[in-house]
Each structure stands twice: as C-alpha cells, then as structure tokens.
Symmetry: C2
Amino acid sequence: MEGEVGMRVAVLGLGSMGAGMAASLRQTGHTVTGFDVVDASRNAFAAGGGTAATSAAEAAKGADAVVSVVVNASQTEALLFGEGGVAAAMQAGAVFVSCATMDPDAARSLAARLEASGQHYLDAPMSGGPARAATGELTVMASGSAAAFGQARPVLDAIAAKVYELGDAAGAGAAFKMINQLLAGVHIAAACEAISFAAKQGLDLKRVYEVITASAGNSWMFENRVPHVLDGDYAPKSAVEIFVKDLGIVQDMARRERFPVPVSAAALQMFLAAAGAGMGREDDASLARVYASLSGATLPKSDGTKE
Amino acid sequence: MEGEVGMRVAVLGLGSMGAGMAASLRQTGHTVTGFDVVDASRNAFAAGGGTAATSAAEAAKGADAVVSVVVNASQTEALLFGEGGVAAAMQAGAVFVSCATMDPDAARSLAARLEASGQHYLDAPMSGGPARAATGELTVMASGSAAAFGQARPVLDAIAAKVYELGDAAGAGAAFKMINQLLAGVHIAAACEAISFAAKQGLDLKRVYEVITASAGNSWMFENRVPHVLDGDYAPKSAVEIFVKDLGIVQDMARRERFPVPVSAAALQMFLAAAGAGMGREDDASLARVYASLSGATLPKSDGTKE
C-alpha cells in the first residue's frame, strides 16, 4: 500500500539504522526517498526497492518530513546548512526529524536556525538497534514544538514502539538521551571490568553471568554485552567508537556546566584505550579484551577455547 | 512447631539481617539461640520470643550449625578464633555458615583453620535486604565441601529462596559476591552521577526515572536507589559505609592481582566523599547529594520541594 495513504518522507543516512527506518516507513504506506553519501548504501537501498535520490537536497525537496539518521551534531549541521544543505530545499511547514545523539546545546542551536526559515525541527534521538529499526519498534526521546510533533507524528508512528514527549523545545530530547548514554557507557565499562576480573580469578564465567543477571549487580548492558565476551564474538553490534563519541559529549557538557563526572570519565578512558588499541570499529564488549591484555586474564575465544 | 523437627542453630549477629534470618529459622522449625555484642539487639531478640545467649560461645555450644551474620572478615575471624571464640565451642561435625562479604583469600584462610579442627565452613555471602531475610527469601552465593553443604542444607532452605552452589571450597562464594559488589557499587555511583547531572540541567527527574528504567541505561541499582533521591529520603536502607567497605575489598584484591579497575576505583572515591562529608551511615543514594553539593544541582527534598 506504499504511497496510497502516507506522507512524502526523505530518509537521509541509509546505514543499518536509516535503512531499517526507511523500510518501516514504506511498510506503513509512506512514500520514501533515501539518500546516503556512501554509494554502496544508496545502491543497496535502491536494490531493495527504495527510491534513491542523487543528493540530500533532492530527497528533501517536496518532502513533508525529512528524517536525519547521521552520526553527530556536525554531520547534522552540514546536512542542514552546509553546501547543498536540505534547509534551503525543504518546503515551509515540513519537519526535520533529527535522530543523532548530540549535545543539547547543539540541538537548540540547529532548531533555532531551521525554525527561523519557517520549517520545524524535532529533537528525536533514538534508542534501539538495527533490528528494532527494521521492525518499527525504536524508542524515541523527543522534544520540540507542538507543530513539529504534529507534522512528525506519522513518521514517529511508523518507526517507534514508544515515543517519549519530553518538552516543547529542542534540547530536552538530547539531554535525556545523554543521561541514558552516560549510564549505558558506564555500565558497559563496568560489565567488562567485572567479567574480566572474574576471568582473572579463574571463575566460571557462564556461572558469573547466571548469578549476576539474577542479582543486584545486574544492568541492561551487563545482560546484553557479556554474552559477546562469553562467545568471544567481537563483531560490531555497537562499536567502541560510539561511546568514545557519546561519553565524550557527556564530558564536554559536564565540563561546561562545572559538573564533575568521575565515574563516566573513568569509563571513557577505557573506551579510548580500546579504540587506541585498534578496536574502535569492533564491538564495545572489546573493553573486556583491554582489561585482559592489561592483566593476563584469559577470556573465551570464539571457538569455545580460551585465548 | 519450633524445635520439633529442626536443628539446633546459633545465629551470631542480630542486626536487621541476623534477626530476620533467626526468625525464618524459627518459623521453619529450628531451635535458634542468638547472640549479639550489642545489648539492645540481644534484648530485642529476646523480647520477640528468641532465646538469647550470654556469649557467642554459649550460643554455639551444642549447635548443629552456627550462622555468622557479622560485617567483615576481621569480625568473622574474631568471632571464630578470638578470645571466647566459637571455634573452640563448636562440636565436631558442626558447620559454620559465614555470611559476611569478604576477600576470597580471607574466606579460604578461615575455612582452612576451622576445618583443621574437625568442623565445617560454608562460604555463604548473601544478597537481599532485611525484608527478604525476614521472609526467608535471600539469595546465597555459596561454596564449600560437600560435608559443609550437607550439614548446612536445612539452614539454607530456611533462609534462602535461591542458593547458588559455586564450588567445593571456600573462596568461590566470596569471589562471586565481590564481582556482584563491584558492579553494584559502580551502578549506585553511576545512578547518582546521572540523576544529579539531570538535575543540574533542570530535567524533570521523575520523567528521567521513567525513561531510563525503560531504556538501555537501566540497572537494578538505578531502579532501586533513584527513588530515594526523588523522595529526598536518605534514611539508610543500605548505608554508604557498606560500599566504602566492599569497593575497598575490590581495590585490595585488584591491587594484589595486578588487575586495573579504573571504573570501580572512581566509584569508590564518591563513596569516600560521601562518608567524608558525614553521610557514612546514611543511605548510599546520598552520593547524589555529594554531586549536588559539588555542582549546585538542586535535588528534591523530602517534603516534595527542592533543596
């Protein structure tokens, strides 16, 4: 039923998240045009039946909603206001749905600039991986004007199982997301510190996983990431560099606000160590390998033996 | 049916945990004798219908099982082998069930000394608070010889909903517990860092709690401790000093094993700061008050206003 009942939506950024969201939007009946600066991503999207544009501005032209699935604030700014930026191409009354995790100040600044020219900006960072993007079951932490929410509603309905409406201006969505990322990053580092320390002591790691996930030491991230360590599988489900970026934003925000964050600062050092050791694009459970290499702890290998 | 079908059990340490365990043991039909060096605890136990002994050794004499509910390794050592210690009073074949959280090396040492004189030692640190102690629903992370487990079984059945059997010698139970405490301590500090940082940004903290507990940033501790901050209630459900102790043990173990633990080291500093600021005996969610006092963040007060 594509195109019969829906909006015209541009999806900018066709990596695993953007491609999944585009698919969800098409399945819900929207007319989707996609663009990615990477040829392979654009071609894969077209090969899957999507309509690929030759530029971001072309995709955005005439769209009711433009969904930005790029990585950070500077990419979002370039996409909106750089050479060939979409702000100039978007029609009046259209909404820009910004999904990147960024400093709330950056979200406020981008929104103010776009709103000045008569378009709407929804600050809408997401939670949930590619699998949930593909099934339209993301969680969105959103804030923006009533007009932005109103215009973006059909998009949100298509891509998200849960939309938190967190305020009437850009910035609140970003701020909530950063609180989540602070915790998530610390919990990944703590999980890797703990499971490697258990390995150093020669404990049965599968038993550690069983006991901890049923105890007060559990976290969403411990439960989700430690299986990668148990399997010796560091193929990137979420890469080390993501939290180098996100805990970096936390540090920048906290420094600006004169707020000490010693625990997340320590966690960031471990993500930096993993990236510095060459694992930046591998799974973030790779922090366990850093602890192991620093201590002589023995972790499981992917073939079931120990490395 | 007290005393009709059960064992003779001594419970040494009648604080909120020990008193609850003694109650569970009595309800299950065991004959319980209790002792505490604190007169008030001993008198409260007697007033509640318990049989209080005049010394630990008197309580242990003739007991089939001696349950030690003291705070740490040094108290456990003093209880067993100090002046008037129970090791000399325990009959051959009786089991000493040690519930304190301690360094695995200390557990191994205590077990070896007690086993040398013909008694059994079960390394049995617990998880779960006073409420679950009172209903016999603790979680126990236990290790010890088959004889120790066999002799302690009726006690474990009475006090625990779940018993993890983690090895055939003392030390493994303690090691698993320390992995849990590493994570739990980091997660408390991270929860306080995050919720205070949210307060500094002026976010709606109840909404933060709602969003985070449904997101990847969640932890058992975030879910459990942040409500104390939202209520401005720092009456001690678990005191700051507990994790000064337990993360201190983690640091001691890690230093000895040449294992770097930067994340839990940073968390310990925040527990030390809270204790140093005079909150050692208050709830461990007090770390949020340390962050607030260092940054000018405004947290909820117990009367519903902000402090």
